[in-house]
């Protein structure tokens, strides 16, 4: 490498610590790295940003995939990568995003605490519907690009706070690291404590070898139910999750306790699942004969003849081949019924949720956070009670609190090449759904495509 050229490049390179102020502003810590709330030092804009320092040094495969894909993905409901900083000296990789003040984990926690305190949270009637609609739209976009999320859970669904994108959903933390392996091996690779099984589709728990779009849809169903009731629908104790075995008896038991045991006619291919033998050995279907999603939701005051319930049932369909797609789900009558979904999920009303708190910068707190988390999950019900008084608790560690957000982006910014024939675009042809805009929400069309260059 030419030393003069190198020196020139090193002098020209923008350094993250020179451009941004983030010291003492850590808002998240996890297996992915550290996330800081940051502002520009030169105050050329006063916006808040999220700076993510990727765990480890150099360019791991997951960092590489994350950069490669985020660089291409542009959708109002998917987190938008603003910039990458490569710190040559310590070989650290930093990603810059717009800051998202809220996420569904915190929002649901807030509602649960209020419920336990017998207080009501003042939010608009359509908020859950708007959240679900935007989650579906983001996932529809990812799926149309053959990007699977693989790790959907409330903590990964961000919501923008006050600002130009107020109340907009941003899907974050796609499971880039898990793109190349079999779906289950990575469970063992990750910090076992951070893995949650509550949003895992039954086929994964029965040993399915590949991630699919349907697996993401199941997770959305779980999140929808949790939004409606403030309880994780498939909550389950998680003690022995260090196992790399996908089969998880307690989690399946919980699903059957809510849903009932799958009837043969409902899920014909269940016999072909790798762990079907174990399932038959371990479970007696008669134990679940009194369970059904109707009854579960009815206990939580969600009426089985309502449109919300009917859509939930389509999302939480046991047989992955019969589960609804994101595209069809967006056309569901639920979204045509009053109140209609809004771009700002708070529909212009006040945002009752607190802002993110800073974490202490000491390394020790990840360890203790993790321990705390195990405790939290094991003693969910206690924790629920505790939440009432302490305002804490829940199924996610403080370390997983944070997420990122972003600014204007729109699929509507796409370039118009309609004068060329379809045949000229094999890539477009492949995914006809890609261009379609969901019928209801009219995002402002920004010149996103062209802006991207300059901004980047």
């Amino acid at each position: 490498m030419d030393s003069e050229w190198k020196e020139k490049r090193n002098n020209e390179r923008a350094k993250v610590e020179e451009l941004f102020c983030y010291e003492g502003c850590k808002v998240g810590r996890g297996t992915y790295g550290h996330v800081y709330k940051a502002k520009r030092k030169d105050s050329s804009d006063i916006k808040e940003y999220a700076l993510k320092q990727i765990e480890g040094t150099g360019l791991s495969m997951s960092a590489c995939r994350e950069i490669a894909l985020l660089r291409e993905l542009k959708h109002p409901n998917v987190i938008n990568l603003q910039r990458v900083f490569l710190s040559h000296a310590d070989r650290k990789v930093w990603l810059l995003f717009d800051y998202a003040e809220h996420d569904l984990w915190h929002i649901i926690k807030f509602h649960r605490a209020a419920k336990a305190n017998k207080k009501t949270v003042q939010v608009t009637k359509g908020m859950v519907k708007s959240l679900l609609y935007q989650i579906l739209d983001g996932i529809r976009y990812l799926h149309s690009n053959w990007v699977l999320h693989r790790d959907l859970k409330p903590a990964n669904i961000l919501v923008m706070g006050e600002g130009t994108e107020r109340g907009r959903v941003k899907i974050a933390d796609m499971g880039f690291a898990r793109l190349f392996n079999s779906p289950l091996k990575p469970l063992a690779d990750l910090d076992p404590v951070v893995v949650t099984f509550w949003y895992r589709a039954p086929e994964l728990l029965l040993g399915a070898r590949h991630y699919t779009k349907a697996i993401d849809i199941w997770a959305i169903g779980c999140i929808f139910a949790e939004l409606l009731t403030s309880e994780p629908i498939f909550h389950c104790r998680q003690e022995d999750i260090k196992t790399s075995n996908p089969y998880h008896h307690d989690q399946l038991d919980r699903i059957f306790n809510v849903m009932g045991f799958p009837q043969e006619k409902d899920w014909v291919d269940i016999k072909k699942m790798p762990e079907h033998g174990t399932l038959m050995k371990d479970f007696k279907k008669n134990n679940y004969s009194s369970s059904s999603l109707v009854k579960y939701m009815d206990r939580h005051k969600i009426k089985p003849d309502g449109k919300a319930f009917m859509l939930l049932q389509k999302l939480l369909t046991m047989d992955p081949t019969k589960r609804i797609t994101s595209e069809l789900a967006m056309q569901d009558p639920y979204f045509l019924e009053d109140p209609l979904p809004t771009q700002d999920v708070f529909a212009g009303g006040p945002i009752p949720y607190p802002k993110r708190e800073f974490l202490s910068d000491e390394e020790q707190d990840d360890k203790s956070d993790n321990k705390k988390k195990v405790f939290m999950e094991q003693s969910w019900t206690n924790q629920q009670r505790a939440a009432a008084t302490k305002g804490g608790g829940g199924g996610e560690p403080a370390s997983k609190r944070v997420r990122l957000g972003h600014h204007q982006s729109s699929i509507g910014g796409q370039q118009n090449f309609s004068h060329m024939t379809q045949r000229n675009h094999p890539n477009q042809q492949q995914h006809p759904g890609h261009v379609q805009q969901g019928g209801m929400m009219n995002y402002t069309n920004t010149q996103q495509s062209s802006n991207f260059n300059q901004r980047y």
């Binding site: 490498m1 030419d2 030393s3 003069e4 050229w5 190198k6 020196e7 490049r9 390179r13 150099g58 360019l59 791991s60 495969m61 590489c64 995939r65 950069i67 490669a68 894909l69 660089r71 291409e72 993905l73 542009k74 990458v84 490569l86 040559h88 070989r91 690009n145 053959w146 990007v147 793109l179 190349f180 796409q414 370039q415 090449f417 060329m420 024939t421 045949r423 000229n424 675009h425 094999p426 890539n427 477009q428 042809q429 492949q430 995914h431 890609h434 261009v435 495509s449 991207f452 260059n453 980047y456």
Partner: protein, 267 residues
Amino acid sequence: MAGNFWQSAHYQQWILDSQDLIQERRPDLEVLTEEEYQKIMIFFTNFIQQLGETLKLRQQVIATATTFLKRFYARNSLRCIDPLLLAPTSVFLSSKVEEFGVISNSRLISTCQSVVKNKFSYAYTTEFPYRTNHILECEFYLLESLDCCLIVYQPYRPLVQYMQDLGGEGEVLQLAWRIVNDSLRTDVCLLFPPYEIALACIHMACVVHQKDCKQWFAELNTDLDRIMEITRYILNLYELWKTYDERKEVQALLQKMPKPTTQPVPR
């Protein structure tokens, strides 16, 4: 990522203009003729191909690595980074992007050593000089020069799709595929969208196999002038190959190539 090419960073940032390309290469073209420059690029494309095949990489990974190398030198002089270092670095990066799996550092270095020794002794008389730390350092500079655009669209997929539509025999597809591989030794991957390159290669393969494709191309409603332009680039390569013996000439070319100064300039 199987997204939309027209919205991709590849389309928006990395379809270059041929005049700009000449402009960017000017410092190198003060030392080398255009033909010599192309021969050096051909050599390092061959090197990547050989390295990739020895590492048993898919052609897609090899093609992406080649594109990374060409994009780097579309923005930088050959003097900035020795292509013998940038070539394995491109392979290393592309194997991660293309989900091939990380190639272990030691395997990459030892494969470079054996490829240089066993396949390219006509070009290098000394051992492959770089180590893992060089590759890792170089990777950051490469990533930076690429502006983090890592998803590269290749002509292979559109090629297969068009061939299904055209309903050609296997031999046309096979030949067209090989022409796409050859096209990596030209500038077309820097200048044209991959679907146009695929079409040009199909057209050439049809001509060789005397398959009538006039009607099919007419119905495509694509700009045939551009297809012909790509064809000219590839035909020029074949023309060059007729008289060029890499084994005899490349050592002198590598001598002549602008090289990095690794010692800081004293002030």
